[in-house]
Amino acid sequence: MQAKSSSGIPLGASGPHEVQPLPDKPRFGKPVSEADVAAWNIDIRTPDGAGLPPGRGSVAQGQKVYAEKCVACHGADAKGGSVYGTMVGGIGSFKGSPRVLTPGSMYPYAPILFDYIRRAMPMDRPQTLSADEVYAVSAYILNLNGLVPADAVMDAQSMPKVQMPNRDGFLLDDRPDTQATRCMSNCK
């Protein structure tokens, strides 16, 4: 029986991890405060939106941000451009083939959009959008996917409440799952 984390995730093989014992544990880290780290502290705990900053953005505002900063790679109406595929649609496609992965069809929690757009987009100038802009363009993409109405405004309160179709779509890793046997002769 292999080791699992407290949340049930298979961990694989453990160790080796012996560290040379020392008479005195060396300590070289410099104490810092959370305030010192504020500019790096960009993660959103997406299931409940913890960490979503002050700010707000509407679908209409998002359409403007998108036209200025996103359309070149992601295409009109976020349907995909010459490089990147569509960010709209695919809801209900997972029982068939192909599965169309978009923020609408795949993200279990709407705040994932905020976390990802803020840290990584636009791809050539990441971490340059304001919180308002990130809320706005998130609202726009959610609206294009039919998940918020045209007059929706996203902020720290409303974003975690958006009902996402794939919220219950994930299963925790339960491997090993295959049952291969070590046949040596006259196999199959």
Binding site: P10, V32, M123, F170, D173
Partner: protein
């Protein structure tokens, strides 16, 4: 002594290999050897200071971007290790595979900082000088992308083993156990998860269960006896042994301790595995037991019948390799190969078996067994449990190579 047909055959085959004077029936004698020019003139002098490079005659041994999956842009990209040219179990640094999500940064090590914060007694900041002062450990581990082989599930798309399996490398990693630094910061008992975040343009980030952070996770700054290369995370990365490559976050800038996973895009919309009934498997961290024959392998050409050492690599994120079996007849019969020492936990292991090829078509494949008794599956075995649709990660299925009568080696996944 009577010259039996088998003895004549033996002599003839030996003659074909040595090309020498033993040939029965009129093979050419070896020509007298000319004195090489290198014996007649001095070679290159030594530079005052230099970083050595391979011979120009090894210029064909390179990492390569994929030419199988047309990547239409260069920012989120990857390149593969030439496994077919790699002896042993260590990948030279210039050939270690790379994968990033927004280009390789060139980080100034003097400016770089690693921060540990969140549910800790005392948030801490480390410079690279700080990290180098800690007692270090060095460990041999494989590193593999969870997407290794995803182009080749149900039918061949790749030609060479570089393309089918090249998002895999083996190295000696040097750094500081994460547990050392976490202990210094003082992890709150409520801290069950950590996020790792990079200083690159994608700020790639993943959630990691605390058990792994405190077990064998390393903060690594050196690979195979020198500083990490930029494309592999310079100046510092995480290394989570046996786990999918992207969770060993490169250009590591931040570790934050929390109570719950963050469910980032990188572990929901990406790096999840399609399952039956429209579902997705999440947090599939462990790279499962796998093997592949690297020689002979796809795109190669055997020079006629005779003896070949069939060799390849086996590895497991769940422990050590216990055995590798090789089949020459498409999986009907198997022989156990020899494993080359050292056989190490969560590390590449080299296997080899002799093969007398008689010149008739053959299908070669290898199958690994790990220290838990887990047997490397076929694609059919995996299909019984998962949905093979779209981009499917964690491909650890048996890889078949066909050899035709001309000695041409081909990828026949899904066909054999």
């Amino acid at each position: 002594m009577a010259s039996s047909p088998s003895r004549r055959n033996f002599i003839r085959r030996t003659a074909a290999l040595t090309g020498g004077a033993f040939a029965a029936g009129g093979a050419a004698r070896a020509a007298p050897l000319p004195v090489p020019s290198t014996n007649r003139e001095p070679g290159r002098i030594i530079d005052e200071a230099a970083y050595g490079l391979p011979s120009k005659f090894e210029g064909h041994v390179k990492r390569r971007r994929t030419d199988v999956l047309k990547n239409r842009q260069n920012l989120s990209d990857w390149s593969m290790t030439p496994l077919q040219h790699q002896p042993g179990i260590i990948t030279p640094n210039g050939l270690v595979y790379e994968r990033h999500h927004a280009g390789t940064p060139d980080i100034d090590p003097n400016a770089h900082r690693l921060v540990i914060h969140g549910l800790v007694k005392q948030p801490l900041e480390f410079t690279m000088d700080d990290l180098h002062r800690y007692p270090s450990v060095s460990r041999f581990y494989f590193l593999e992308c969870s997407g290794n082989g995803l182009t080749d599930w149900l039918k061949p798309a790749s030609t060479t083993v570089q393309q089918t399996h090249g998002l895999l490398s083996g190295a000696l990693w040097t750094g500081v156990p994460v547990s050392t630094l976490l202990e210094e910061a003082g992890v709150d008992p409520k801290g069950k998860w950590a996020l790792l975040e990079g200083a690159d343009a994608s700020a790639h980030t993943r959630s990691v269960p605390m058990e792994k952070m405190l077990d064998d996770a390393l903060i690594v700054y050196a690979m195979n006896g020198e500083a990490l290369r930029p494309e592999n995370g310079y100046p510092v990365r995480a290394l989570l042994p046996g786990w999918e490559g992207n969770i060993s976050v490169k250009w590591l800038r931040r570790i934050k301790i929390g109570e719950q996973p963050w469910h980032f895009r990188s572990e929901t919309a990406r790096y999840t595995d399609p399952m039956p009934d429209g579902k997705w498997r999440q947090f599939s961290m462990v790279m499962e037991t796998k093997s592949v024959i690297t020689s002979p392998s796809g795109g190669q050409q055997l020079k006629g019948p005779g003896f070949y050492e069939v060799t390849g690599l086996a590895w497991s994120g769940a422990g050590k390799i216990r055995a590798v079996d090789v089949s020459f007849d498409g999986g009907k019969n198997w022989r156990e190969a020899k494993l080359e020492e050292p056989i190490m936990d969560k590390c590449l292991t080299r296997f080899k078996v002799g093969w007398n090829w008689d010149g008739s078509p053959a299908v070669l494949m290898s199958r690994a067994v790990d220290s838990n008794g887990y047997v490397q599956p076929s694609v059919q075995d995996i299909q019984k449990k998962r949905a093979i649709v779209g981009f499917v990660q964690h491909h650890n299925a048996i890889q078949p190579w066909s050899v035709n009568a001309k000695g041409e080696v081909r990828n026949v996944i899904g066909q054999a």
